[in-house]
């Protein structure tokens, strides 16, 4: 009897959990039908890691594309047709991303897939989309997504190697030649480590300490003591949260007073708040979304960035991050290409993306070509710093 009661209660809790998760997702349902009755909608798939460890990427991405599609549909859609978004949650799992991609391509016959959020997932479904002749607009950082080139695969965030180059350029300005590199053992961290190692000699920089730490690390004073002992002029940390905040705090705590460079994964004000005063002075390359308000009025991205930021923040009541911006760019590129192609034939739209020039997005100004499926140059990055716990444009 009692075991039964326990079992019933257990089931009840599970049901509640499922219901709660169900409720949470309902506001993400497709936008109200407004545009052009009669014409069939254009089906666009989206795979984001809305929950799970990479939810800090996927959640703002899903919110952004829903906001974009709703706004677009209210103003008449594309080619007089509504965009029908099919948003799927991969939970950050590459296996799940594969089955979702297959389902979207084979059953839903979508024109394009937005996302996935992480590099691992994107690389897994790259060949599936290529074979299925479905356009993939990945929101993940790894360069391997577009190198080697797959004709249907594109990506919207800036490249890792460009981020590393920006860091080295700043070091050159500061006269820094001896650095310590610490990276987390994630796909993102490994990618950054490889680029930093490869590019350091070309830039006249010597890596004195090169350490990898586990992504669950809760304290890095040990590794940083080693860095301190080596007598470096700067530290580069390439990881995702929470280590980004911990590094900043630990460096100050052991009085390792050299500049801290972080990767472009640092682009969320929450990370800064997480490490409080210790974050001040951190230097990192990033898109301009975070400093939209302090851009000069004639900057080509200013209007778009401030508009997106305002829309997102007023609708969702949370700060916009660069990650949501990557999804904004993905759906922007797709709709612009559909307009340009004047059709929804996958091949025509794909060709149209390759011909997009000077398209202003959140990450930068996109200039695609048949060889470049990322379309962003070094100028898409701005070196930012943290001043009084706010992002600011870095000045020497």
């Amino acid at each position: 009897m009692r075991t039964r009661l326990a079992a019933t209660l257990g089931v009840l809790v599970l049901v509640c959990a499922v219901l709660v998760s169900g409720c949470k997702k309902s506001p993400e349902a497709p936008a109200p039908k407004q545009a052009a009755p009669g014409a069939p909608p254009i089906k666009v798939g989206a795979i984001f890691s809305i929950t799970g460890p990479a939810s800090f990427l996927g959640a703002p991405e899903a919110k952004t594309v829903e906001m974009f599609a709703e706004k677009l549909n209210q103003s008449g859609g594309v080619l007089g047709r509504r965009i029908e978004l099919l948003v799927r949650d991969s939970g950050g799992s590459p296996e799940k991303a594969i089955s979702l991609a297959k389902q979207l391509i084979d059953e839903e016959k979508v024109l394009a897939i937005l996302g996935p959020s992480t590099s691992g997932e994107s690389l897994q479904i790259k060949s599936i989309c290529q074979e299925g002749q479905t356009i993939l607009l990945s929101c993940a950082a790894a360069e391997e997504i577009v190198v080697p080139l797959a004709s249907y695969v594109f990506k919207t965030p800036q490249k890792d190697s460009q981020a590393a180059q920006c860091i080295f350029n700043t070091m050159k300005d500061l006269g820094i030649t001896k650095i310590g590199v610490i990276t987390s053992n994630t796909g993102f961290g490994k990618g950054g480590k490889a680029h930093l190692e490869k590019m350091a000699p070309e830039n006249g920089v010597e890596i004195l300490v090169n350490e990898v730490y586990e992504k669950e690390a809760t304290d890095l004073t040990g590794v940083l003591t080693k860095v301190k002992g080596a007598g470096v002029q700067a530290v580069v940390n390439w990881s995702i949260e929470p280590a980004q905040g911990i590094v900043a705090k630990n460096m100050k705590q052991i009085e390792l007073n050299v500049p801290l460079f972080q990767s472009h994964g640092y682009g969320n004000i929450k990370y800064v708040q997480g490490s409080g005063e210790a974050a001040n002075g951190t230097i990192f390359p990033c898109g301009r979304l975070l400093v939209a308000d302090s851009l000069p009025a004639d900057h080509p991205q200013k209007a778009l960035l401030t508009q997106y930021k305002k829309d997102y923040e007023s609708r969702y009541g949370e700060d916009a991050s660069t990650f949501g911006g990557h999804a904004y760019d993905a759906i922007l590129i797709l709709t612009e290409a559909i307009k340009k192609a004047g059709s929804t034939d996958p091949k025509a739209v794909r060709d149209a993306i390759e011909n997009l020039q000077g398209l202003v997005g959140t990450a930068g100004v996109f200039n695609f070509s048949a060889q470049d499926h990322n379309g962003l140059g070094l100028d898409a990055f701005e070196m930012l710093t943290v001043k009084d716990q706010k992002f600011a444009i870095y000045q020497k």
Binding site: T3, V13, L14, A17, T221, P242, I254, K270
Partner: protein
Amino acid sequence: MDFALFVQYALSGITVGSVYAIVAIGFNIIYCTTGIINFAQGEFLIVGAMTAISLAEVAPLPVAILGAVLITTALGAVVELVFIRQVRNASVLRLIIITIGLSIVMREVMLHIWDEQVRSLPYFTGTEISTVTILGAHISPQVLWVLGVSAVIVAALTLFFRYTTTGRAMRACADDRMAARLCGVNDRWMVTLSFMLSAGMGALAGCVVSPITQTQYDMGAPLAIKGFTVAILGGMGNSMAAVAAGLFLGLLEAFVVSVLPSSYKEVAAIVVLLLILVFRPSGLFARRDMSALRTA
């Protein structure tokens, strides 16, 4: 290696070790009374820290922490009453599996309440950048808080288990539940009490380490694994040994990093654990006759 650097490694080891130790203590409380290992201990930590972070927005820090400890203690009671108590005549193994299930449920519920963002409590004294200088090396004052709170918890628990009737009754339940019941101990309530105690201690631990480790909904499991390793290392059921073992493991890891790439840190920790399990299965600091009594 110069002396200041040596001290810095040692202090770094103590920082990490103090976190391990305070987590390990929580494992011991439930083990002491029930013989089961509560794999949801890490989640108690995070629930406590998250509640305190939410409360700290409206109340001063000490009040927020006290509130969080009380709420988590109540949660410990609910967990025991709803999930553990209902399973009668259950084997220890089955109860352990239940705690694993509980940890997953708690983690997911926390994701829905506090989302995926990383948060942290403010430093108890000073800020992120304040340090205490010892022999030319530096350590965050928060580490001293962790050590101090661990010491107070260990002292209080030792007194409680040794000198109060309730504490003795709890220990009696662990040794022989039937015999304890025959002596008039209400064994079921002792188990509930142990869950409440360890949830409360966990919440306190979660609050104290939050400024150092930061807090995210899924951080409980990795913290608990280290805490569990340390509890085994010291000898299950012995809180004082857990603190010593925690500091030992932290120092070991720090000095391993000084000579090997830091990716070998975990290897060192696990090798030591294996050696202990092979050569001193009852733990570094446990007396053999004691553990023989327990398994008999």
